[in-house]
Amino acid sequence: MIVYVVQRVLLTGLMLFGLICITFTVSNVAPSDPAALAAGPDATRDMVETVRREYGLDKPIWEQFVRYVSDLARGDFGRSIVSTRAVGTELAQYFPATFELVALAMGLGVLVGVPLGMLSAVYKNRPFDHLVRVFAVSGVALPAFWFGLVLQLTFAAQLELLPTSGRLDIASPPPPPVTRMFLVDSLLAGDWQTFADAFAHAILPAIVLSFPCLASILRVNRAEMVEVLSADYIVAARAHGVSPWRIVAVHALRNAMLPTLAMIGLRYGWMLGSTVLVETVFDWPGIGLYAVSSAIAGDFKPVMGVTLLIGLNFMIANLVVDLLYGWLDPRLRAAQ
């Protein structure tokens, strides 16, 4: 098991190195003149030369790379041209908002998707299964912005049950920043009112974001469960008198969770990179909006910063999935 863990961690490190090489190439090598790009469109020649020296762009490429990596290690992602603020600071502001949303959506996707998939496998081809199938297909097919608008109209505008948009009520101040995830920070501050407010604001965007993810987790889990439930060892468990629900929820689910986990890891990365529509509809100041507005403004560093951050998250998610895989499936551990 230890060999397995070390192997996975090393592999993740390698992937991260690869990603850094890519962002380095994109920002420092590929542009015909990165200094001019960094200095901005209106810069004079002198200014460009100053920038070149300041950023070390006149140095040999490997030296630039070493500097790039050591900057990253210190959390220095460069500066945004538009806001002139450090990208690291801006990421620290926007990323927690997105992460909070994605974590909620992921939780919802797993907690609803896995049991629904399991139950539809148990009730295969019965009315319940058909109903769930319709639900899952609409999850994949509904456009996020349309679904978001419909939810806003129904639950916020008509029923007035939930707020329309934003992270908090305008009147309520944000909790003292620790993680900058309002749900966590308000809990840390013991401020239940803010927590409830933040939660109410997060419900609709989390549902919209999680729906396609929930649907695919559900479908994968159902397919796997159907397969596993007809396995010989399930017949044997029944023959030995193990109770039906224990067979489904313990004996079969653990086997079916393996491919489902892979899907969960994939979906996590996919969600992080595709929050922009939901953030737009719900006016959620997250990393998706930040990346898109920076890209439109031709602001390079923030885009690279977001890329690195999302990439890093994806890798961590994959690492966690791999480790869980090893924990769930003894054959993998042994194969090392």
């Binding site: 060892y233 017949v235 044997a236 023959a239 030995h240 008198g241 004996h251 086997n255 054959r331």
Partner: protein, 332 residues
């Protein structure tokens, strides 16, 4: 045979509904089994041996399986009408089953100990609260079961996963699981087919010893009359979902009456005459969706007459526990 048989199957008919039509897999099975009786069930592949075995524990998926007629009673309990609770009180504690391929009948992601304990705990839950054992006692029971099936180093084995065991060890683990509820009837569905020849003999001996020591009734399924002869005192020959002959093992070898049984016997290679030709049974396994009318064996039977094509032969008693389903049984 005792007055009230342990297992009584009467006119049991089972079909599988499929896209191509309805397969008549079991066609009027009549069978009784007494306590501590050892019964072998033989027949060629697809004749319905496994389906019959699984029927006793109601393990067949339905759909596609559908019982058309008949009854199965175990210790007086109507298996076909019993609810899930009643079935759980039977599966394991009263009737246990071991299977053909030990590799696929153990759950790959749980340890041997976890699986064995799970089965023991399931049986424990069927007992009244006061009689239930503590976890430690169940664990001790699990270890003793592994020792009983002659597995070395039982304690360490509890923490191993199925893929770390050999085929013979896995089958022993499955036997231990089957014994965990102290059943009255053990159904063994080709328990040695997937094993090496040397291991086969060991596992067969183990089963035979356990059956004798524990006074179990056993239903040993096989397509090998030799295997059955070494462990059972009585044998039932099946052909295409019907019982064609039922007799004490010695009687089968000495004076089989059904042409199909004779064909089976002729197909056994003997040590002395191993060079002699193997007389197999001509023809192929009959279609179960549109089975031949009358006797299902008649298209392949050397003795078939007009009556065999029209009328299904009943299982007739020839005395001494010998039953034959053949219109021309007297002639042989």
């Amino acid at each position: 045979m005792a007055a009230a048989p342990l297992l009584a199957i009467h006119d049991y008919r089972l079909v599988f509904d499929g896209f191509e039509g309805t397969a008549h897999v079991l066609d009027g099975i009549d069978l009784e089994l007494g306590a501590a009786e050892t019964l072998g069930v033989v027949g060629e592949t697809g004749c319905g041996k496994s389906v019959l075995a699984k029927s006793v524990l109601r393990l067949l998926p339905s759909p596609p399986a559908r019982v058309v007629a008949g009854s199965i009673r175990f210790e007086g309990v109507d298996i076909l009408a019993a609810n899930d609770r009643a079935m759980r009180a039977i599966r394991g504690p009263r009737v246990a089953m071991i299977f053909q391929d030990p590799a696929t009948f153990l759950n790959p992601v749980f340890t041997i100990g976890q699986q064995l304990l799970d089965v023991i705990a399931a049986h424990e839950r069927e007992k009244p609260k006061a009689e239930r054992r503590a976890r430690a006692a169940m664990r001790a029971h699990a270890v003793s079961l592994l020792q009983q099936v002659r597995l070395p180093d039982a304690e360490a084995l509890m923490g191993r996963y199925p893929h770390q065991l050999s085929g013979g060890m896995r089958q022993r683990v499955l036997i231990a699981m089957a014994l965990s509820g102290a059943p009255a009837l053990l159904i063994a569905d080709e328990p040695t087919t997937a094993l090496d020849v040397t291991i086969q003999a060991q596992v067969l001996r183990l089963i035979a010893d356990l059956v004798r020591d524990l006074g179990l009734a056993v239903m040993m399924i096989s397509h090998d009359l030799g295997v059955v002869a070494s462990t059972c005192r009585r044998v039932v020959v099946m052909y295409s979902g019907t019982i064609v002959e039922d007799a004490p093992i010695a009687r089968i070898f000495a004076q089989a009456r059904h042409p199909y049984t004779k064909g089976l016997l002729a197909a056994i290679p003997t040590l002395a005459g191993s060079a002699a030709k193997l007389s197999g049974i001509a023809g192929s396994i009959p279609n179960l969706i549109a089975p031949p009318p009358g006797c299902r064996f008649h298209p392949r039977c050397p003795l078939a007459v007009e009556r065999c094509r029209a009328e299904k032969p009943a299982l007739r008693d020839f005395g001494g526990g010998h039953r034959v389903a053949c219109h021309r049984a007297e002639e042989s």
